[in-house]
Symmetry: C2
Subunit: 220 residues, 2 copies
């Protein structure tokens, strides 16, 4: 009985997700679902990446959190419009929440919408929001065993940002071990080791996002 | 409709949790639910704390993960019996899983059972497993805004272990800000800043666990 209900919810979510994607496509907007554990550095990554991108691209951000509008305020502070969703205890965003949030944007005027999901390495993996790309942020301080222990999240990633690389010398994180685990999972994820503190690796990730936006416009 | 089903599941969980607690009580075992984000340092904390405790106390560990038996192997490697639960994608342990796991232990011969939950700062907060104490591990690398952003987890904590304190100088984590947020939440959690790398703060946490075991035996 519970399984039937769960399936019904998932299907409803997938239908709304497809409608979201159609709206993004009609407006030629690239939509990115940004995922990872609490404190992996998702908002900090946006603070590092968006100001440069915003010079030539129109961007908006949807922020998902259980409580507070702290992350949306951080994004507004760098001059990028954002919309905070509070899930009131919910462990992930769903397509319906995102549908309501993007209804407040002028999608036709945008190039990129980033949806920063609730910090959660499990539940968020199961819900399509209508995005084109999934970017997972994993910090080196979380340990190099996370791909084996939380496979669904990494299985579906298009990019894996390995954050806080400046802290690597203080950890026992082995980048090669993580890379092998990613390959073993048959994940297609592009790997971007970077540090917001030093700036190392940021350009490669920005280039990849730029290229995805160009590809996105060409395809439609 | 979905809400009714969710309530039914919670009630069933609570009933089994109460039965688990009664089994722990009858065997005079202290049961601890160990929670936190992926990579907060839960297993590493156990590796640091259990060998000393195991000299005078009989301990067993239940490990919860989506996949792998890696954590249970790490616990067995320090000479403490452990039982791995794989949730097959599930984002938290529930009381029924724990009931089956503790059925494999000789509870009467034990003093302490630690249940290390799935790494998740959201879902695990909502499920009573039959524990006496909840210990939440938060690493300083996760950021000092986590209490405001994930309140249910911290609201119900009996102890908050602030881990990876050796990395504090490399972060912008403000311990005082976090402490104020904890007080604002009216959480009764005892705070244990510590570092497994340097050993600082470990003793205070071990003393608290020892004292909880003594209190636990006195009460019954």
């Amino acid at each position: 009985m519970e399984i039937i209900v769960a399936k019904k919810i998932l299907n409803a979510n997938d239908q709304i997700a497809q409608a979201n994607r159609a709206r993004f496509d009609a407006s030629r907007v690239l939509a990115v679902n940004l995922l990872g554990s609490p404190g992996a550095g998702k908002t900090t990554l946006l603070e590092a990446v968006l100001p440069g991108l915003a010079k030539t691209r129109k961007i908006a951000v949807v922020e998902g959190d259980l409580a507070t509008s702290r992350d949306a305020e951080r994004i507004e502070a760098i001059g990028v419009p954002s919309m905070q969703i509070n899930t009131a205890g919910g462990c992930h965003l769903d397509a319906n929440m995102v549908s309501r949030a993007i209804g407040t944007f002028e999608l036709d005027s945008l190039d990129l919408v980033v949806i920063e999901n609730v910090g959660n390495l499990v539940c968020t993996a199961g819900f399509d929001l209508g995005e084109h790309l999934r970017v997972v942020v994993l910090s080196v301080t979380e340990g190099d065993d996370k791909i084996e222990k939380y496979p669904p999240m990494f299985q579906k990633a298009d990019a894996l940002v390995l954050s806080k690389m400046d802290l690597l010398p203080h950890t026992n994180f082995q980048v090669e071990r993580m890379r092998e685990n990613l390959q073993r999972l048959s994940s297609q994820a592009r790997l971007f080791p970077l540090s917001v503190q030093t700036g190392d690796g940021i350009d490669a990730f920005v280039d990849w996002l730029e290229s995805a936006m160009r590809r996105d416009r060409r395809d439609r």
